[in-house]
Amino acid sequence: MVAEKTSTKNISVTLRVWRQAGPNTTGHFVDYPAKDLNPNMSFLEMLDVVNDELERKGEDPVAFAHDCREGICGTCSLVINGKPHGPNKAIASCQTYMRSFKDGETIVVEPFRAKPFPVVKDLITDRSAFDKIQQAGGFISVRTGAPCDANAIPITKEVADLAMDAAQCIGCGACVAACKNASAMLFVSAKVSQLGLLPQGQPERDTRVLNMVATMDSLGFGNCTNQYECSAACPKTVSHDFIARLNRDYLKASFRSSFRPVSAAAGGGA
């Protein structure tokens, strides 16, 4: 939550921005002045203004990822003063407003830093690893046109609400950026929990968690050591309790998969 009191006076700040031409070049910080800013301006609008000035001079504007600017698409991904998505809780970078900063402040702006998220340019990173994890099992296999009536499977409100809490994840990667191990377990646990809580998700529950975790590991994400920086940085406040659920599901699935009978037709005994 942001502060209740609104300053109406314009402010000026210095931006210390990470500039990096490409994934294989060395990056460095560059300072840019940002003057006379309305406190109701969003952080990204402030970057727009700085970029307009750079473009006017024919200089390369600061590349940053953004799209919906209302905190739901998960594209924006800034580390502001050392914190993924900036100083305020439960919001994305695009929902950070200049009223959160003091006149004369130097604001450090960096990309999300994690080995599985290589820098593409300046403040933009490659987060395609998340898509690969989803492709490994983040779904319920249902062919279009096949399902039964939507009300044929009643789901208690409590379960539906909890599944929705997990499903809120916007796939931004702040959890990874905030974690000293670059763990993606909050992200993975959100999808595993959403689908694992619902009756529709049961047939693939074991294969889903095993495949998603295996892919997560292969992409270079680290493991969870229970510091909970992930949920603190999460713009949708996805709870780290889901990581416990992921661990339980993973353990049960690993155990069951060793003893599961396999049909002779698939090369096993009964």
Binding site: V49, E55, P147
Partner: protein, 640 residues
């Protein structure tokens, strides 16, 4: 002149789609894998189409300009999705959803398309639930519903205030599964810059890799555009900053007709503009109008008072007053204009006096704050983040903003444009919402088109294409299209003027809002048709796009999209000028009833205007597809 045959099947309205499905040509499974289909865009329509076509066995290649398909702007839809399930037992039916949608669109949509949409709406909910979309539920475990504008039944399914997100993630999961299986080849960070037409048929696209700058050619047997709407022509809108018209506009310049470009939706409940630095406007979901009451002070003198200091009898709940049977749930175009009239009358509130109150005090009194928080909590949070005001204590301030475009590329009943082999889905086409879209119907249309319509209709087209006749990307048409794109890129980079791209976008947006926004006049539109080309010339001469085309260059991306917005904005004004009537989102001040409502002219304008490109600098051709209503009477829309 383009041939505009809607190819609507004959027979009774309710049987058309069923009959069509039983009579169309099929492609046998062994042949399906020989056809390649390109899908551009991965919002609800693009993702659902990609996944479903891949399930059927077609080779699918999907292109998105985002870094992941999950970023598409369908994700931002808040309120819900309509479906004629009648789970509430409140008298809903396919026919009623059809009728509400047609009437909501001010009788400017095709009957058969709208009826099909209402029919498949029920399948969408089944599909999404099976995918694990966590829709809101009642304590008994069954699905919950709420009401939306333009309807007197509760048929809207929702997942808190994030319905679009959950539906998109459902479609994204279906797409991800097919990508994981190798059945869909996904190209991210890939922007379509041209359509390749060979022998009159759509056969491929030219794409720029937004990270490396590389321009590549891609051939296919059919091309599907599901690239969304063009509201960013106004600069300030509820669209994502990256939303653009480039794919559909470049297709238009290759011969696809652009239908009803002037039909723009202005959403009544958005957070008002706060300053000239602003880059986007944020929507407050229509669902808020279920419990929020909209008002302004009765007297101008009260406008500067704190809302709590204005007594009940000094407030004008104008929607409830003017439209007693629909009240605060009047359709979007009607509610937007009513807000504008109140502000034009000098009774607006907040800075700049461009705002009206959306007040929850009664709902909180009736239901208690926890219940209101449960229903709308995330929306109240968004409002707080942006305005720093607590809407549980003081009414929200809202004002209309550009939100959706009903116009788009012309398509027939098969969702195919007049360029054979080019299919257009979702907001990118013009087909189902007429001159005004009802709330919670965009999600319905995107998923209907992608899951349940195009998988059938595209087979009907491909069955006549001989497998293995897909052209090579070395064909002269591909070479010419690539050269065209490279030349345009060079021209933008070499302008080396003095002004940044954004500055031109702001100026274009202001022209569009002033002359082609909520209220339009002959005089204003004629002025815009002079001013826009002037500004466009200035843009090409004086824009400064730094850097090169051979690398990630966001200024270049914006410049290319804006170049298209200039041309499209001009076409919107031309369409608005020639449509001498008011209907839905298109309001011409000259054509109104004494009470300020839209005055349609069914004699002259009961048709679709589909504009055909005639070359740069030449006035486009206005083709007409008459709207022949067989089953419904075009009547004066009343919500009173």
């Amino acid at each position: 002149m383009a041939q505009l045959d809607s190819k609507t099947p004959s027979g009774p309205l309710a049987d058309k789609w069923r009959k069509y499905k039983t009579e169309i040509k099929l492609v046998n499974p062994a042949n399906k894998r020989k056809y390649k289909i390109i899908v551009v865009g991965a919002g609800l329509a693009g993702s659902s189409a990609s996944a479903t076509l891949a399930e059927l066995g077609y080779q699918v290649e999907t292109f998105v300009f985002h870094d992941s398909p999950r970023r598409a702007h369908s994700i931002a839809a808040q309120g819900g999705i309509n479906a004629a399930k009648n789970y509430q037992n409140d008298g809903d039916s396919v026919h009623r959803l059809f009728y509400d949608t047609l009437k909501g669109g001010d009788y400017r949509a095709r009957e058969a398309n709208v009826h099909r949409l209402a029919e498949v709406s029920v399948n969408i909910i089944d599909q999404c639930v099976a995918q694990g979309v966590p829709f809101a539920r009642e304590y008994g475990g069954l699905l919950a519903n709420r009401s939306f504008g333009g309807a007197q039944v509760s048929r809207t399914f929702y997942a808190r205030g994030q319905t679009g997100q959950q539906l998109l993630l459902g479609a994204y999961s279906a797409l991800s599964k097919m990508v994981g299986q190798g059945a869909v080849k996904l190209h991210v960070n890939s922007e379509m810059l041209d359509l390749v037409v060979i022998g009159g048929q759509a056969k491929g696209i030219i794409v720029r890799d937004l990270v490396t700058g590389e321009i590549t050619r891609h051939a296919a047997d059919a091309v599907i555009l599901a690239t969304g709407g063009y509201g960013n022509v106004f600069n300030l809108s509820t669209y994502a900053r990256g939303s653009n018209a480039t794919a559909i506009w470049r297709a238009y310049k290759r011969g696809a007709c652009f239908a009803n470009p002037c039909y723009t939706q202005i959403h009544p409940t958005c957070i008002p503009v706060s300053g000239d630095y602003q880059s986007k406007l944020t929507l407050m979901s229509e669902s808020l109008r279920n419990d929020g009451r909209i008002w302004v002070p009765k007297k101008k003198e009260d406008c500067d008072k704190a809302p709590g200091d204005i007594p009940e009898d000094a407030r004008d709940y104008y929607l409830e007053r003017i439209y007693p049977s629909f009240g605060n749930l009047a359709p979007r175009d009607v509610a937007s204009r009513a807000a504008k009239r109140a502000c034009d009358d000098g009774r607006g509130v907040g800075p700049g006096k461009l705002g009206v109150y959306l007040d929850f005090a009664d709902a909180i009194k009736r239901l208690g704050e926890p219940a209101v928080r449960e229903r709308y909590g995330n929306l109240f949070d968004i409002y707080h983040e942006i305005t720093n005001e607590n809407a549980y204590k003081t009414p929200m301030r809202i004002y209309p903003a550009v939100h959706y475009t009903m116009g788009g590329l012309w398509v027939n009943y098969d969702l195919m444009s007049n360029v054979p082999g080019l299919f257009v889905l979702g907001e990118a086409n013009f087909s189902d919402h007429g001159a005004n879209r009802l709330g919670a119907s965009a999600l319905m249309q995107g998923l209907a088109d992608g899951y349940f319509v195009v998988p059938y209709t595209i087979g009907n087209y491909l069955a006549d294409i001989k497998p293995g006749t897909r052209p090579s990307v070395d064909a002269p048409e591909f070479q010419a299209a690539e050269k065209n794109i490279k030349d345009m890129t060079a021209r933008l980079l070499n302008a080396k003027g003095k002004a940044p791209v954004n500055e031109f976008h702001k100026r274009l947006g202001k022209l569009m809002w002033d002359y082609c926004g909520m209220a339009r006049t002959k005089e204003g539109l004629e002025k815009a048709l002079v001013e826009i080309p002037k500004l466009r010339e200035e843009f090409w001469a004086d824009v400064n796009v730094p850097g090169s085309g051979a690398t990630l260059n966001q200024a270049l991306e914006r410049a290319g999209r804006l170049a298209d917005f200039f041309e499209l904005g001009e076409l919107m004004c031309r369409d608005a000028l020639t449509r001498e009537e008011s209907c839905g989102g298109h309001f011409r001040e000259e054509y109104q009833h004494p009470d300020g409502e839209c005055k349609r002219d069914d004699e002259k304008f009961a048709h679709v205007a589909a504009w055909e490109f005639q070359g740069a600098g030449t006035t486009p051709l206005r083709n007409v597809e008459p709207l022949n209503y067989e089953f419904t009477k075009m009547s004066v829309r009343s919500y009173k």
